[in-house]
C-alpha cells in the first residue's frame, strides 16, 4: 500500500497536477505567511476573495520589473470568464467609427506594428488603507502597483483602421468581466479621443515577455501609460468610438476626484463643477529595501532603496531627509527604463552609531511636481502620494 508521501513523490505526480487544474478558479491556497495564492499566482496579500483583490507584498516589489505571478489583481465584478484566446474577438465600432471591424488575436498580432514599453500600473486607490482619516473601499497598502514591460499594438493604429470620424469625443472600452446581477453596472471605461490616439496607448497581449496572465487581463488589455489603472481595461472585447461623453456608472459616478483639487490631465467631456475623473498618476515613491521599524546591524553597510514614478514626465530627483524634513540630500538615481516606468533610487545609511533614525523620502518629477508632506483628503481615497516616513533602528 502506498503511503500518502509516496503518492505525492511517485506515480501520482501527474494526477496531482490534474487535480490542481480541476480546482475551481477562486479556490486559493494559503501559505505559511498568511498570504494567499490565486491559481497561477504566487501568494499575495488577500484584500477580498470575490471579486478578487490581491496586493503585491513589498518583497515582490524589489525587482525593476514586477513578476507576472506577483503582480496585483484588481476587479470590480465577480464574473470573470476564462477566455479561449482562439475564440476571442475584439469588436471596434461606435457612432464615430467609419468602418466597424472585428479582430481575432492572430489578426491583432499580425496586422499591426508591435510596440513594447515599460510602464507603472497603479490602482487609483493604492495606499487607500493608509489614509487618515480612513476612507471606505479596498484597504490597499503599498502594493496595488507594479512595473512591467507591456507589448502589444498601438490603439491608434487599430482605431484608424476602423476610421475615426471628426466628431469623435471619447473612446469606450469594455471587457469580458461582467456583473452577477443584471442591474449592476458593467465595468466599462472611456478615454478622451486624443488620449486614445496617443502613440503610447496600447492594446497589450504580453506582459514582461509572456502572454498576459488571466488575472491581469488575458488575452488583451488596454495599457494607458501615465494614467491610473482604472483605464487599463482587462479582457478587452469591445471598443466604441463615440461622438458624446460616455454615461456609464464607472465614469460618471466612480473614480472621480473633486474638480481642481489635484494636478493632472483634464478630462473635459466628463468634468462637472463638483467632480472630474481621476486621470494621471501623481509623483510618488516607495522604499522597498526596508519597512518602517526595521533594525540595522551596527557597522554593516546599508542603503535605502526603492522606486519613484509619476504620470510620464519622468523623475527628476529623489531626496532623503534625516532631520524631520529640514534638510534634504539627493539620492542616486539608478534603473532607468523610460519615463513611464518607475525609477530606482539609492541612498547610503550611516550605521556607525546605535540609535533610531527617522527618514523621509520625496521625489520630484521633471514637470516640477513634488510629493506633498501631507496627503490630500478626498472622499474616495485616491492619489495618496504623501512623503513616506520610516523609523529605522541601528543596533
Amino acid at each position: 500500500m502506498l503511503t500518502r508521501r509516496q503518492v505525492i513523490a511517485g506515480s501520482a505526480g501527474s494526477l496531482l497536477a490534474a487535480a490542481v487544474d480541476a480546482v475551481p478558479a477562486l479556490a486559493a491556497a494559503e501559505s505559511d505567511s498568511g498570504l494567499i495564492a490565486l491559481p497561477g499566482k504566487k501568494p499575495l496579500i488577500k484584500r477580498s476573495f470575490r471579486p478578487p483583490n490581491f496586493e503585491t507584498p513589498l518583497a515582490d516589489l524589489r525587482q525593476p520589473f514586477t513578476a507576472n505571478e506577483a503582480f496585483f489583481v484588481r476587479y470590480h465584478l465577480a464574473s470573470i470568464p476564462e477566455i479561449d484566446a482562439r475564440a476571442w474577438r475584439l469588436r471596434i465600432g461606435g457612432a464615430s467609427a467609419q468602418r466597424p471591424l472585428e479582430l481575432s488575436l492572430a489578426q491583432l498580432r499580425n496586422d499591426f506594428e508591435h510596440v513594447s514599453l515599460a510602464a507603472v500600473n497603479q490602482c487609483s486607490g493604492n495606499k487607500r488603507g493608509l489614509f487618515t482619516p480612513r476612507v471606505p473601499g479596498v484597504q490597499w497598502q503599498n502594493g496595488a502597483i507594479g512595473n512591467a514591460t507591456w507589448t502589444g499594438v498601438r490603439l491608434r493604429d487599430v482605431l484608424r483602421k476602423a476610421g475615426v470620424r471628426d466628431n469623435a469625443v471619447e473612446v469606450v472600452f469594455d471587457g469580458a468581466d461582467s456583473p452577477l446581477l443584471e442591474a449592476t453596472p458593467d465595468f466599462a471605461k472611456s478615454l478622451p479621443v486624443e488620449r486614445a490616439l496617443d502613440e503610447n496607448t496600447l492594446i497589450a497581449f504580453e506582459m514582461n515577455g509572456s502572454p498576459l496572465p488571466h488575472w491581469n487581463g488575458a488575452p488583451a488589455r488596454l495599457v494607458v501609460p501615465g494614467w491610473t489603472a482604472t483605464y487599463w481595461v482587462k479582457h478587452l472585447t469591445q471598443i466604441r468610438i463615440e461622438p458624446q461623453a460616455f454615461d456609464g456608472f464607472w465614469m460618471q459616478a466612480a473614480y472621480r476626484i473633486p474638480t481642481g483639487m489635484f494636478p493632472g490631465a483634464r478630462f473635459a467631456s466628463q468634468e462637472n463643477r463638483e467632480t472630474t475623473p481621476i486621470t494621471e498618476i501623481l509623483v510618488s515613491s516607495l522604499v522597498t529595501s526596508h519597512e518602517s521599524g526595521a533594525r540595522l546591524p551596527r557597522g554593516q553597510p546599508a542603503a535605502l532603496e526603492g522606486w519613484a514614478w509619476d504620470g510620464g514626465s519622468g523623475i527628476a530627483t529623489v531626496e532623503i531627509s534625516r532631520d524631520g524634513g529640514n534638510s534634504w540630500q539627493a539620492a542616486t538615481l539608478t534603473d532607468d527604463h523610460g519615463r513611464f516606468a518607475w525609477r530606482g533610487f539609492r541612498a547610503p545609511l550611516d550605521t556607525s552609531r546605535p540609535g533610531s533614525m527617522e527618514l523621509r523620502v520625496r521625489a520630484a518629477a521633471r514637470n516640477g511636481a513634488r510629493q506633498p508632506a501631507q496627503l490630500t483628503p478626498n472622499p474616495s481615497g485616491y492619489h495618496h502620494n504623501a512623503i513616506q516616513t520610516l523609523l529605522l533602528e541601528v543596533t
Binding site: 496531482l16 491556497a29 484584500r47 476573495f49 456583473p179 446581477l181
Partner: protein, 95 residues
Amino acid sequence: MKTAALFITALCVMATGMARAGEESIRLKDGAGSQLTAARCVICHSLDYIQMNAAVMNRTAWEKSIRKMIDRFGAPVSDDEARQILDYLAQQYSS
C-alpha cells in the same frame, strides 16, 4: 479503478496537505441579522468586504453603503431587510 483511487487520494492530499483558503471560510459575527446580512451581501461579493471596512465604518457610513448597493448596484434587498442589515452592521462592524 486503481487510477480512480489514486486520483481520489491525490485530491485528499490536496485538501489536507495545503491549507485551502476561500470565501467559504469567512464567518460573520453572531448577532441578530447575521444570517440575513450574509445571505444578501454574498450574492455579489465575499463577506471579507465587510470585515475589511469595519474599521472605517459607522452607522451613517453603513447606511450610505447599503443604499449604494441597492440603488446603484441593484442588490435585491427590501427596505425592511435593509433596516435589519443596517442594525446588524452598525452593531457588529463599526469602529
